[in-house]
Symmetry: C2
Subunit: 205 residues, 2 copies
C-alpha cells in the first residue's frame, strides 16, 4: 500500500513550497491530499474556496481540513510557509492538535515560516530550522508562554529530528520534498524521482 500525505494550505501560503512538496510526493506515488485551513476555525462540509497564494497564484484545495485528517488516515502532515498562511495554520488549536498527533504517531514536515507550528503546538526542544525571518521566535520562544519551548536552531537546508522534518524556504523546498519521499518510500524511490527533474550539475542534494 502506498504511503499518504496531507498538506495544509491557506490564504497566504507560499505557493512554491506547497506545489513543490505536493508534486514531488505525487511523483513518488504518495497519495497526497491538500486541506484548506480557513482563517476562522469553523468546520464546514462545503467545498473549500481557492487558496490565495502569497504571490497571487490561486490554488484549489482538494478539501477542507476536517475531522478525518489525523495520523490514522495519513502518514505525513506538511505545514508549508508563507507568513500569513503559516500564521493562520499555526495559531489554530485544531492544527496544533494535529501537529502533536502526527509528531507522536507518524511524521510532520514544516518549511519556512511553517516551522512556527512546532513552537505553537508545543513540540519538545530539538533540532529544527526555518526561514531566517522567524529564527528568533524559534530560538527564544519568547512569544510563547512555555519558555521551555525553544529549539536547537540549525542552518542546515533540511533537518530530520525523529518524526519532525524542517526546512528553510522556497530554495530548499526540493531537498525538503525529496527528504520526505526518502523517509516515506526509501532512498531508491528518492533517486528515481529526482533524476527526471533534471537538477543542474553540482546541485548539493
Amino acid at each position: 500500500m502506498h504511503p499518504s500525505a496531507l498538506i495544509l494550505i491557506a490564504d497566504g501560503t507560499e505557493e512554491m513550497e506547497f506545489t513543490i512538496t505536493y508534486d514531488t510526493l505525487v511523483r513518488a506515488g504518495v497519495a497526497t491530499t491538500s486541506a484548506f485551513v480557513p482563517e476562522q476555525d469553523t468546520p464546514s462540509s462545503e467545498s473549500p474556496p481557492f487558496a490565495k497564494g502569497s504571490r497571487g497564484i490561486n490554488i484549489m484545495p482538494d478539501q477542507y481540513l476536517n475531522h478525518d485528517c489525523g495520523p490514522d488516515r495519513y502518514d505525513l502532515l506538511v505545514v508549508p510557509g508563507g507568513a500569513k498562511g503559516a500564521d493562520t495554520m499555526s495559531k489554530q488549536p485544531s492544527v496544533q492538535q494535529l501537529v502533536r498527533d502526527y509528531y507522536d504517531k507518524k511524521m510532520v514536515g514544516m518549511i519556512c515560516a511553517g516551522s512556527l507550528a512546532a513552537l505553537r503546538s508545543g513540540l519538545p526542544r530539538q533540532p529544527l530550522t526555518s526561514h531566517p525571518s522567524v529564527r528568533k521566535d524559534l530560538e527564544k520562544g519568547m512569544s510563547c508562554r512555555r519558555v521551555s519551548n525553544d529549539f536547537d536552531y540549525s542552518e542546515e537546508p533540511v533537518v530530520v529530528s525523529g518524526n519532525l522534518v524542517t526546512s528553510r524556504g522556497p530554495g530548499t523546498a526540493f531537498p525538503f520534498a525529496l527528504t520526505l519521499v526518502e523517509q516515506l518510500c526509501g532512498a531508491d524511490k528518492r533517486a528515481q524521482v529526482q533524476k527526471p527533474m533534471v537538477f543542474p550539475p553540482g546541485t548539493p542534494f
Copy 2:
C-alpha cells in the same frame, strides 16, 4: 514602469515549473499574468476553468489567452512544460504566432517540454535546451516538415540565445526564473530576489 510577463497554462502543465516562474517574477516586481490555453483553439470571453496540473494540483488561471496577449502588451512570454500542456500549447496556431511575435519583438522563455514550441513555431536554428525526453525532436526536427528547424542542442541548465531563453525541467526552474528576472530587471534585482529564497550553500546558480 515595471516589466510585465504572460505565462501560459493548460491542462497538464507542470505545476512546479509554472508556479516557480510566476512566483519568482512576482517577487521581482514583474506584473505577471497567467493565460489559459484550452485544448481547442476556441476564443471565449468567459472566465477560464481550472488548469489541471500534471500532478493533480488545480490552478485558477488569471484569464483566457485572448487577442490582447501580444508583445505590445507584455515584455515576456513563458511556455512551461508538462508533456500534455506543452503539446496543447505548441500545436495551436495562435500560440505559435505569439511565440514568433515575442521572439521578434520582446522575449520568450520555454522550459522542459515547453521547448517544443520553438520547433513548432518555426524559430530559427540556434542554441536551445529542453527536457531530455524531447531532445530528439529538437535535434532532428524529424516530426516537422521544415527540416531546417533543428537546433544546436545544449545540456546547460539555462540557455540564453538572444530573445529565446530555454531550460530543462523542474530542477532547473529556479535558475530559469531567476535568469528571466535578470534579463528583465537586471542582476541586482536577481540577487535581491534570490537571497531570501534561502538556497542551500553550494547551489550552482
